[in-house]
Each structure stands twice: as C-alpha cells, then as structure tokens.
Symmetry: C2
C-alpha cells in the first residue's frame, strides 16, 4: 500500500459561533490548514466534507462549502458517520490517495449545533438511534451512555468519583488549549455536584453541543517529501461497526464492539500493539466513554479503566497520555469536526509543536473516534 | 492502479413501496446482489450506504442497514452527494479496494421518498440548493432545470417537441423493464399535453419521487477471477463539482461544468473517447438534462442534443443507445439508489443479459450520475 501523509492541519475555536455560517467556519479551518501545509488552494485534487446531518437546514453541505472555498470543479462529496464523520472521511481520503487516484486531498469536518433550541437538538440526536424500534421510546444520548455507565459500575465496581476524574483531567488540559470551548479547570467535587442529566451522569460528565470546524491536508508520499520536512504518516486505519440498536448488542453494555474491531484492524496495519502508543485522543463524549475506550484500546485491562484514570495514568507522565487537548468534554464536540480535530492535535504532538502539553519524544499517536451510540468507530494510528 | 471488478448487482422494483421500510428495501437489493455474485454475506469486508438525507426521520442509515443486513462488525458508513450518492459511493469503494485495504465491498443505495407529503418533499428538495442565498427565494427543482431548458432553447433553438422525445424514448424502454416505476409508453402529444410544472417543463418532462434500492458487489481482481467468469471492470472514474449557487455558474446555463469535468477525467483514466462508448445510462432527472448530458459527454456537438434525440440516435440501433432501462423518467428516481441502478443496468448489458433491450456486442459502457442542481457529477466507465 502506498504511504499517505498529513501535511497540514487547521481548526477554528470550538464553542458558540453565532458569528459565522457553516461555510465561514469551514473556511477558517481550511485557510489555517492550507497555510500550515504551505500549498496553494489550486493544488488540491479533491475535498471530502464530513458532518452529521439535520443540525441545520442545509442539505449536502459539500456543495456550498466547495463553492465558498473555491474548490470547484474538483471532486467533492459528503461522508457521514455521525460523531465519527471526519475519522471516516480521513480513511476515505487515505484510500483515494493510496490507490493513486489523487495526490492532495482536503478533509473538512464541521458542525453548527448551538443554533437549534435544546429540545430540537434532543430530537435530532435521538434520531441517530433506530427510529423504528428505539428512539420513539425516548432514550436521549446521555440516557444511552448512562446505561453503559451503570453496566460498568455494576460489573466492575467503577465509581462516580472515577468518572469525575476523567472530566477533571480533560478540563485541566482544556484550560491550556486556546481553541477549547471551556478553558477552566474543575474539581471532582464540581463534577459530582453538577446538575444530574441521566443517572449516574451529571453535567460535567457530558460534552456540550458546540460549533466548529477542523481541516486536514493529506498527500501522497512524493508530494509530502516536496512540501514539508515534518510529514506525519498514516500508519494504521481501522473502522468497525456495531448494531445500532442496544437490543442487537446483547446484554453486556461495558464495551463498544466497533471500537475493539477498529483497534484490532489499526494495530495490525501499523504493526504495533497498544503499548507502542505514545499519545492518544479518544472519544470522550461522556466520562464513561473514555473509561471504556481505555479498555477497548488495550491501554489497561478490562474493568480497570476507572482505576487507571484514578491513578492518573492518562495524564502526561502516566502510561498513556490521553486527550491532552481537553478532549470532547472541554474542547467541545461539534460532531463532524471532532475526528479531524483529534488528528490535528496528534499531528502537532508528533511534530513537537504542542507547547505546554507536549508529550516529549512522541513518535506514535492514536485517534479513536466513535459514532453515534457506538455503532461506528474509526481508529487511526499516526507515526512521525 | 489495481483493477476492480463488479461481480454482483441487485435492485428492488422502483415505485411506491409503502409495504417496506428502508432496511427492508436495502435487504431486497442486497440479497439479489449477493446471490448474483454467488458469495456469502460473511465474505464482505465493508459496506457503503449511499442516500440523500432528510427524506425520512432516520439519520445515519448505515447504522440500521448494516445491522439488518448482518454486516457488523465490518466497516460501514454513509456517502452522500444527493442524486449522485451511489455513483460517488462506487468511486469510494473502488479506492478502498484498489488501495489494497479491502477485497470485497458492497454498495447499497436507497431512498424512500413517497411517504412525505408533496409540500414536505418540495421543502426537502429545495434545501439541496443554497439555503442562505437561494432556496429561501423559492426555486423548486423543476424551476432550476426549467432555467436550463429555457437557456438551451434560447441559445440553440431546442424545441419542446425535442424535449418530449426524450420522455417518449425512455418510457418506450421503461415499458420493457419489469423493475421500472412506469411501464407504459407515451407519445410526444402525451408529453406536450401533460400538466405544466415549470415552463417549458411539463409532467412527463420530470421524473417522479420514488422508493427503491440498488446494490453492487465490488471486488479486487484476484477475488473476481475466483468468483465469476463474467467480471465487469471499472475502467474509468470521474467526479466533478460545480458551484451550488446558480449565481456562481455564470450566465450560460446550457451545460453542467461538473459533468464536463467528470467525463474528461473518466475518459482519460479509461483511455477512451466518447465514440468508444457502446451503451450509456445518463441522469435524465428532466428531459432537458438528458439533452445537455449528450453534449457534456461528447455524444453529439454542443447545441445538437435536441436534434440528436429527434433523429433517434440514442435508441438502440442509433449512435449511442442511452437509458435503455427507462432512465430516471420511466424507471423512477429514488435518489440514493439511482447511481447503483444505472451501473446494474450496464453490468447486465456488458454480460449480455439484457434480453429484449440488449445492445448487441456491447463492450464499453458509461454511467453519468448528476447530483442536486448539478453541483456533483460522477461518470463511470465499465468494460467487459
């Protein structure tokens, strides 16, 4: 398989962006990525627009975005896998380049979620579940993940304080990220005392609806060598799926099958094991998700995720630094942008450009991007 | 680039399908394709679900469809380019196989459009245009294409009778296709006397909202040689884009820039010219579209499309047989399924299995799949 590199990354500030339309936030991220790569817009062979649907009135956003970014008449289209949209988009871009069809592909992930009213957002989110057999009965996103939290607590004795520790860590790093939605540290007590959402999950256990965009420029090996001295290579790609319905997942809600499958594929392709990973971004849509992710990725034994974060093994200096940009919980989660934003953070880590949150000597990085209620998971492994 | 083949095709009947949910029509098409390929479901490495959004409440349909088809935990995701969704999906599947990542990929295109009320469908369709600057001012899909019709008539003297001839031809072939939505021939007079929609387009100048699904099984060359004696090879792939806004397209609305670009790419990759094409499926969402498509693809000189169909050059026996399965006008246009359905027809042609509508000795086939108001176009060239 021909090698593919990431040579440019960009991201808007995440948060409330009522000042800008979707095309404008896409442009902000795109401009930064193109400048980072040091290429001209006209050199881009194709673009892939990644977002979840129904958060705004605009259908088929690649149409407006490619026009606004000046990318016609080159190929463009939309890839969607809910919260994993841009993780999946990256895999498609890799294939379009590795196959020899294109040399330079731009991935643009975005979402604007804050303009919908709270009840409208809930309605939209629920319809990422099975609308025939499940979502009409009322499960919201926090309710789905609360079931996982309860199952994990019952089976392994995971504690609310351990869940809270995930939020504390990610807000600690979010406070150091100028592009994060929330830039203030929180304590375990802050988390435990925050407003109940779906027991045992409280407000600080949940990520917030956000606006934002992120962009990645991928190239063939030849192009990368010409463009930059610091290419970051895509070494492993995994994509797994799980039944959309909870019913279809059996009785054990303590792991995401799609993540286990994706990790297996990605480690195999990269020829590494979990222990080789120097820094990771994982999909912490809820605190419980991050704990399960540690286990699904093999960062710690099954059932030990709560203890692992309690021991601060996922801080910088621990065994596996995770979400050192604040993760979804502090950085924000504009769903279509999240996968690309994770990769941006890791590219900066592998280039040694992460400043205060740099993991020293990081050579191998892993991104874990979960979709919806855990029916898609994209795992990407990057190498310096 | 490694060769990729199509080894299995399937399609539901197109039309009103209030008897079946989206997962059920997807299954019908999938079952037929898997049986046609002679493979087992478990051999499929990945699936790509292709559909336009907002026609039903279910977001992220790959989740429900992969579960219902028993395709977990393999990779699955959604590709969207409005009416060109499955044409674009095919290109992604090609890349995933040609890059060496997968051996067997299923493409499942579907749409259920008839359950929405007529005004709801109009609202949804309009939002495939620019919702900030254009669709709030009221252009419907027929209105957009009527502007192209008027421009073509003004510039080249194209006549309403010539537009009507496209409908007559496609209904002539639709009457021979048991899976077509409309299976009755019409006359030029029937078309001219049909209900005005957006002048000069009348009811028979417009395709109908439809339900249906189509499925393709693609494989690597090695797998194809093992599975079948009649592989159909993907020889050329093109994908172009145009500005979504009409404003962005300049003053000449007599050609689709995205189609010209896509055709150029596809002919180059296949190493052929238009004259080598033996049979074609082109995107006749409206009669005027088919006339412009002839010109964009180089089947006839610019401005001569009306005369070309009037002379019956696109019937079997003419220079370029086009839409011999009835096209969108007679077969129906469940938007996400259309691209895959076009390929299904052409695969049957290249295998010599098209019965009464067989183009004798067909060796090279072309599919032209336009998205939305003409902001995406996928052109695919197949070889026996």
């Amino acid at each position: 398989m021909k090698k593919v590199a990431i040579v440019g990354v960009g991201q808007t500030k995440f948060g409330k962006r009522s000042d800008a339309s979707i095309r404008e936030i896409a442009f902000e991220a795109f401009k930064e990525a193109v400048e980072d790569a040091g290429i001209m817009r006209g050199e881009i062979d194709a673009s892939i627009v990644c977002s979840a649907t129904h958060y705004d009135k605009q259908r088929t956003p690649a149409g407006v975005i490619a026009e606004y970014l000046g990318l016609n008449p080159q190929p463009t289209f939309n890839v969607e896998a809910i919260c994993a949209s841009s993780g999946v988009g990256l895999r498609n871009a890799w294939a379009l380049i590795s196959s020899g069809l294109h040399d330079i592909v731009a991935i643009i992930g975005f979402q604007k979620m804050t303009e919908l009213k709270s009840d409208e957002v809930q309605d939209v989110m629920c319809r990422a579940g099975d609308v025939m057999w499940e979502s009409p009965f009322g499960p919201t996103m926090p309710a789905y993940f609360a079931m996982y939290a309860n199952a994990h607590m019952n089976k392994y004795g995971t504690k609310e304080e351990q869940l809270a520790k995930v939020a504390v860590k990610n807000h600690f790093y979010g406070a150091k990220n100028p592009k994060a939605m929330f830039q203030k540290e929180v304590t375990v007590q802050d988390v435990l005392k925050s407003r109940p959402i779906a027991s045992p999950l409280k407000q600080f256990d949940c990520c917030a609806n956000s606006d934002g965009a992120a962009c990645l420029i991928l190239t063939s090996e030849d192009k990368a060598r010409k463009i930059t001295d610091t290419p970051v290579w895509i070494a492993g790609l995994g994509l797994g799926s799980s039944p959309m319905s909870l019913t279809g997942r059996g009785t054990d809600l303590t792991s995401f099958g799609c993540a286990v499958e994706a990790a297996k594929q990605a480690y195999k392709m990269a020829g590494i094991t979990a222990t080789d990973v120097d820094v990771a971004e994982v999909h912490d849509c809820f605190t419980i998700t991050e704990i399960i992710n540690y286990e699904d990725l093999g960062f710690c034994p099954r059932g030990q995720g709560g203890k692992f974060v309690e021991e601060e093994q996922t801080y910088i200096g621990g065994k596996f630094p995770v979400n050192v940009d604040g993760g979804l919980l502090a950085k924000g989660h504009p769903v279509g942008a999240t996968g690309a934003s994770q990769i941006r953070t890791l590219v900066q880590q592998l280039r040694g450009e992460a400043g205060e949150t740099q993991v020293k000597g990081a050579e191998i990085a892993l991104a874990h991007n979960l979709g919806g209620i855990g029916m898609y998971c994209a795992v990407t492994i990057l190498r310096r």
